[in-house]
Amino acid sequence: MDIQFWGVRGYVPTPSPEYLRYGGNTCCTSVTGSRGELIVIDAGTGFCQFGDALLEGPFGRGEGEMIALISQTHWDHILGLPFPAVVHVPGNHLTIYGPDSTRGSLGIIYDGVLSPVYSPVYGLANIGATHDFRSITSEPFSVGGLTVQALPCSHQDDTSSIWSYRIDEGDSSIVYFADMRYANAQMFNDAADFARGADMLIHSAPYTRAESMRDSAHSRVEDAIEVALRAEVRQLFLFHHAPSRTDDQLDELLAHYRAELAAQQSPLILEAAQEGVKISF
């Protein structure tokens, strides 16, 4: 599997000099299987560069097929979808899995997001690629040689629905936890079970526990590490960085928690997700 980060920022894009190394685009990560299966997890603004990179291949000719897994319908996870040219090339096909919400299915949400007051696309029907929206469930499904599994998670006061994803190919696996909050011990157990033995855990971690007075709705850096340790994953990528977190601060944060892990003689590899970086295993 090849994993590539296209957007790693949470909440809002931060295109300023102090964020250039880790990147300012919002959530988007691609997973490519060994047979070329293409899955993209979340479609924040990083989806624009992801789409542009596809123009060279079958997507440029209207012969592309991709699966999108949407974790939640907040702006930083969905707003990039309509922008890249490949989405408007007839013949391309998108299958988009995501949560139903208080305002209806994901397709209805996107139709609203693309309505003429907000977008010159004037509604979902005018997206040139064919598209098929599906409500995500916990039932595993296959994409070529990849197996996708989803886990429902909570957020805020549970009004919006959040899903985490796990993708397995043979012995390799990647797990993605975006924007969830651990409300109780049971959630930690469920998350650790879901992530068990993964090669790579991508975990939303915008703030540390000390900072999280500011935002109690998101998992903290310490939560991500705890789940990674309990699940015995090989490497943890902190993700969904806070808009206020500069490159230098991320370096510092990483150094601090790496030192803690080293002191515990933990084999866990700790990284911060960085736009453009590709990991293969």
């Binding site: 894009p13 624009c48 542009d52 319908t73 907000y118 010159p120 009004t159 919006s160």
Partner: protein, 285 residues
């Protein structure tokens, strides 16, 4: 990183009065700058919205002053039969798209729906007027006039070859649809009103997203080229044209070239510049 990657947001200060033009991602930086400043945040902020496409409202929930109970924000935008300006913003920021609601904000918000025939004053020394521009589903351009100067803000408009401002989406078939006499007149009137809005301005900040080649491929998107911007600026006799709303793919190096090329084409007495993030404009007395 030189010209910047944030979407449309321009701050206008006239004395103590704070006016903000559009609420793109740049609005977050303005809010941060206000929070970091030694001066208290302005008690009242006037936010003038040209239209509610995502790139013009996405900064709103990340603007610190909306969480400050000492602040009042007057939000101006286009009146539609429906939805209302308030509902448009409320729907964008509430569940399931974001976890906030307009009611939950600490700042006091007041909405003012306007149209292109209305002029209004902010305080007793700033006059604002508007014109309708050629952009999908309608948008406004603003003129802000005070003793400090005249600024016109038209971040999104196409030229005046095709009607883009009707309720229906324009489907581009590769060649322009023939226009009725009535449609030609409507476009000519719109252009005239825009030239009038810009007349004698110190600065016009004008959509120049496209290269001429791009314009030929996407005329229905509602964006202009620097040449089209320059035509308006020339006719309106403005002092300085700021090319704005750069295409997301336009690199700094390309913008350097564009800046050089159009600076040379500016008629005597006019300056043409490429707008960049952090740029400040001030009338030299």
């Amino acid at each position: 990183m030189r010209y910047g990657g944030n979407t449309a947001c321009v701050e206008v200060r006239v004395g103590e009065t704070c006016i903000v033009l559009d609420a793109g991602t740049g609005l977050r930086l303005l809010g941060n700058a206000m929070a970091q400043s030694d001066a208290p945040p302005p008690e009242r902020i006037h936010l003038l919205i040209t239209h509610t496409h995502w790139d013009h409202i996405i900064g709103f929930p990340f603007f610190e002053p909306i969480y400050d109970s000492r602040v009042s924000i007057s939000i101006y935008g286009l009146r539609r039969t429906q939805p209302s300006l308030r509902a448009t913003l409320a729907n964008a920021v509430s569940d399931p798209l974001l976890p906030i609601s307009l009611e939950s904000l600490n700042a006091n918000l007041a909405f003012h729906e306007i149209n292109h025939t209305m002029c209004f004053s902010i305080g007793d020394h700033i006059h604002v007027s508007a014109a309708q521009v050629n952009h999908p589903y309608r948008a406004l351009g603003y003129r802000v006039e005070s003793s400090d100067g005249i600024l016109v803000f038209i971040p999104d408009t196409g030229p005046f070859h095709t009607i883009l401002f009707s309720d229906e989406r324009v489907v581009w078939t590769g060649k322009p649809a023939p226009l009725s006499v009535e449609e030609q007149r409507a476009l000519a009137r719109m252009r005239e009103a825009i030239v009038k809005l810009c007349a004698g301005a110190d600065w016009i900040i004008y959509d120049s997203q496209f290269t001429p080649e791009q314009y030929l491929r996407f005329p229905h998107w509602g964006h202009s080229t620097p040449d089209q911007a320059l035509d308006i600026a020339r006719e309106a006799g403005v002092r300085e044209l700021l090319l704005f709303h750069h295409d997301p793919h336009r690199t700094d190096a390309e913008l350097d070239l564009i800046g050089r090329r159009y600076a040379q084409q500016a008629p005597p007495g006019m300056r043409v510049c490429v707008a960049y993030e952090g740029m400040e404009l001030r009338r030299e007395h």
